[in-house]
């Protein structure tokens, strides 16, 4: 039915099967869209956020998708700037995942703000001292970069590529992609960092505040580093999921091993820095403001030491070790465990750096603030996931995303 659009020589499921799959996920997406419209038309009272908990579930989701979307910029950086050529086999997919993550992030921001129609004031009336301004600018610009990186892949669709202009455009864009990738890396460095800065500069919040370098608190660098470290984990995880669902091998092991190895090094170096940061914060920064470390992790039903141990040891040190060690890295099971833990770890880090900050009381007579998201928040947080699945399904079906797919999936007769 849609075979004319499917890349040449690729094997895809039947259109009805595809349509049914899409419509199931689409229903979830529609639920999210409904919740999104409720938030827009009725206002943020649809959520369970409050004046203590001004950032909530979806802002965590926002930071988390940006963090895991870091795979795109880091892979791009490696591929185009450091010329790690093997990565060309996964770069398309990394870009698509990045595109999904960043478009989701922007969508979430559009739902999250109380006055979406005035959202552009962040650009127009920019306060250059605010980390959030930096985030907004770099995020939008980097999203433009991702779009630019995504376009050639779209134009390589069988039908699109028949249009000569599109063909040439794709070709030419590949030619100068290194410049875009470099700009993207620059922008990404800053907005990932600024997101970390968002928390680190809140000097009214001893749980968040960090000392740092010039105007940048340490969280600025930690966020960039962690996005670069864990982003590839997410790329690999989604690749693995895609392979399982399609029942096909899509990327060669050597590519996966390489990315996993790089990620392992990044995670390990990151987690060392994170541990130093945490110790310094717990031993020096917080006590200088009158806080014992136990203040942040006790006296409430949710935020215990477990969250610190899970984030740093189980989801940081452990995956770092598993990916550095050649045997565990190349063992599909331990590698999968490592990348899943890594993804959880970075998401947990973002949770802590957004939500635990809000929950911790600062005034001596204040109390812990805990909250449970409303269904509207859950639905709008699930929306990007559904949207991501749909977009990956469509791009996988119609675009030559994986250059090695044909080679890896030769009909048996040819072997």
């Amino acid at each position: 039915m849609d075979s004319a659009l499917i890349p040449e020589g690729a094997d895809r499921c039947s259109f009805p099967k595809f349509a049914i799959g899409i419509s199931i996920v689409g229903a979830v997406a529609l639920w999210g869209v409904y919740a999104m419209f409720l938030c827009w038309f009725k206002g943020l009272n649809q959520t369970n956020m409050n004046d203590y908990y001004g950032f909530a579930l979806w802002i965590w989701a926002d930071l988390a998708v940006i963090a895991v979307g870091g795979g795109a910029f880091f892979t791009g950086l490696l591929k185009y700037i450091f010329k790690v050529d093997e990565l060309k086999n996964i770069i398309n997919f990394a870009v698509i995942i990045g595109f999904i993550c960043y478009s989701s992030a922007l969508l979430i921001l559009a739902i999250d703000i109380g006055q979406p129609l005035r959202g552009w004031f962040i650009f127009w009336h920019a306060n250059v001292h605010s980390m959030l301004t930096e985030v907004a600018f770099c995020l939008s610009c980097y999203f433009a970069v991702l779009t630019i990186e995504f376009i050639p892949n779209i134009l390589e669709n069988r039908q699109a590529n028949k249009v000569p202009f599109f063909h040439h455009l794709a070709h030419n864009m590949h030619g100068v992609m290194a410049i875009f990738a470099a700009t993207g890396a620059f922008l990404s460095f800053f907005h990932q960092g600024s997101l970390g800065g968002v928390a680190g500069v809140m000097y009214g919040r001893p749980f968040a505040v960090r000392e740092g370098l010039l105007i940048w608190p340490w969280t600025f660098f930690l966020f960039t580093w962690s996005a670069a470290a864990f982003g590839p984990c997410f790329t690999l995880m989604v690749t693995k999921i895609t392979e399982v669902i399609t029942g096909k091998k899509l990327v060669k092991d050597n590519v996966v091993h390489l990315l996993a190895k790089i990620s392992g090094w990044m995670i390990t170096t990151y987690i060392i820095a994170k541990i130093i940061d945490t110790i310094y914060w717990a031993m020096v920064t917080a006590p200088s403001l009158g806080f014992k470390m136990s203040h942040f992790y006790t006296n409430n039903s949710f935020y215990g030491y477990w969250i610190l141990v899970t984030e740093i040891v189980i989801c940081g040190v452990l995956p770092g070790f598993l990916l550095l060690n050649k045997s565990t890295r190349e063992n599909p099971t331990t590698r999968l465990i490592a990348i899943v833990l890594g993804v959880i770890g970075v998401c947990l880090n973002r949770w802590v750096m957004v939500l635990q900050i809000m929950a911790v009381p600062v005034m001596s007579f204040d109390t812990w603030a805990l909250y449970i998201p409303s269904w509207q928040e859950v639905a709008t947080t699930v929306l990007p996931v559904a949207y991501g699945i749909i977009l990956i399904a469509i791009t996988y079906r119609y675009l030559p995303v994986f250059p090695q797919e044909r080679e890896l999936n030769q009909p048996r007769v040819d072997q």
Partner: protein, 52 residues
Amino acid sequence: MFPFNFEWVWDTAHIIFMGGLWYAISILGAGMAYVIVKAAMDTMNDKGESHH
């Protein structure tokens, strides 16, 4: 964002921040303009000789 917005100040912070921003935007803009023009020219050149 622009010097005519009233909160704009000609200070180091604005120069560094906005400088970086406009620099990035210019590169992206110029790059895209270049590839589009180049692609248009290539398409026109194709008309004479059949490329495929």
